[in-house]
Symmetry: D3
Subunit: 114 residues, 6 copies
Amino acid sequence: MNKNVTEFREYREKMNKEILSADNLVIKRLFNLDMKTYQDGELSAKTKEILGLVSSMVLRCDDCIKYHLEKCYNLKVNDAELYEIFSVANVVGGSIVIPHMRRAIEYWNDLKQE
Amino acid sequence: MNKNVTEFREYREKMNKEILSADNLVIKRLFNLDMKTYQDGELSAKTKEILGLVSSMVLRCDDCIKYHLEKCYNLKVNDAELYEIFSVANVVGGSIVIPHMRRAIEYWNDLKQE
Amino acid sequence: MNKNVTEFREYREKMNKEILSADNLVIKRLFNLDMKTYQDGELSAKTKEILGLVSSMVLRCDDCIKYHLEKCYNLKVNDAELYEIFSVANVVGGSIVIPHMRRAIEYWNDLKQE
Amino acid sequence: MNKNVTEFREYREKMNKEILSADNLVIKRLFNLDMKTYQDGELSAKTKEILGLVSSMVLRCDDCIKYHLEKCYNLKVNDAELYEIFSVANVVGGSIVIPHMRRAIEYWNDLKQE
Amino acid sequence: MNKNVTEFREYREKMNKEILSADNLVIKRLFNLDMKTYQDGELSAKTKEILGLVSSMVLRCDDCIKYHLEKCYNLKVNDAELYEIFSVANVVGGSIVIPHMRRAIEYWNDLKQE
Amino acid sequence: MNKNVTEFREYREKMNKEILSADNLVIKRLFNLDMKTYQDGELSAKTKEILGLVSSMVLRCDDCIKYHLEKCYNLKVNDAELYEIFSVANVVGGSIVIPHMRRAIEYWNDLKQE
């Protein structure tokens, strides 16, 4: 098991558990909706995860990128497709997206090494 | 021809022409790359336009949204798919995306009335 | 009735109705959650609307600002309080918030003239 | 003394001291104004710190969040109130706010352990 | 006198006057600091206005862009320099900056027609 | 050689090499354009790097800030000039820029210690 992937997952899971245990209705429903959003529908789960990834990149949220990278990896997005998603993110969002692309590639490699 | 669609296109075209006539090499190449980004490749042009649309929504750029809406419309994105793109944009980007969704729907209606 | 206030409300209502009629489950629940968020709880509805207003200002969403301004107005936020909300928004978000403060004041005046 | 809290405070203090010693008039006045903004006025210091916190969350500035969390903690914001502030931040700013909420909860726990 | 330039100036002046008359100390000092920031110092006023312009472009604040464009125009920034500022803004901030560049060019033309 | 500077450079170089080896045409051209943007032209390379720095600060991209800080350092930007760039970034972008200024000063010190 790759250490970076495991650490990310464990921290995420631990904190989500604490957040949900706080019993704030709005936050609980938001977490629930967040998962529902990426399920198969008119658009496939794969397309939706790609949408989640590109949105996370242009908004420059590293943890969100990691989360969607794992989903994309499991849904068989390949390397060439990944770089095309990155190309859209970089063109739309500019060179400030590049550092996030570097870390995304590093995490993508981590996912492969699992 | 719908007036809003025509006006948007004409203003965009007129200003792009003036910008490109200024002969700034970096800007000319960026404009060129911008078009290349959304061509068929590993991902289809349709998927890429959907990526452009969702990115424009979470970054809240109305003119970018209009541009990609027209491309999506021409590439046969249907209403149910459009709302799923919007659902991702709203979940990722929050309620500040809603006013842009309202204007996007309005423009989508304009595109249909052409 | 002030014309700007009426127009804003009517456009918002008309488009929301169309959006909700599309029957996208995620979007419908988000709209529902959005309202729930600002109800009396541990923090008063007034404090929550103030939070919604300052968030909308630093994120520079004019329509969101208008919406929360009306709520704040109905919940008896006074002028001096309003300017203190603006002062936080300007300090945190910088001078790019100023144009939104100008339009917010204009709309605040419109709300008073109703 | 919790190590994370101490380290954050010390780094912040050390760098602020160096920045202020550079004697740039605009920056010195900004730092001064920044403190003035959150003092008791028409709105209480507590309400203003809550405004500072929610603004920092939707703008996704971890260090700003930590700073306002400590102020909120000292001004007796309780856990249930904190989660309501988070609920507004998440609804307005979307799921990209979630990773910052996770880190905020972690730091909130650190503040309690002091 | 060009109508767009006049209208922008008059609205800005009118609202600033109202804002300052509200006598909020933080906002008054921020407005004062804002002007001080762009005065000749180690960097020339011209360089600082160029910095203000590029910052306003990547943050996509049309009114801020107009304000700095007028200052740049008065400080003799020429067309070729302007396009190089735009090229930095577009490369750093991505294609979402393009619609703001279009409107900036339009306003630049308005400033010349005065 | 300062360790922080060396590590930043090496990571950046290693990941850029991997990204470029993926042979995505759009990304390769963007990387190429990115370098072209900051070359001497109507505005000097020094002025352009200052523009790149201020843009990176208001957009709050730490890695972009480090990159442009090194360029500015090599092009003989002095401390007083640096603080004036920071003053513009802080006034335009607000107090959320301050944590990035702290880290920028720290890296600037690292660059001097090489």
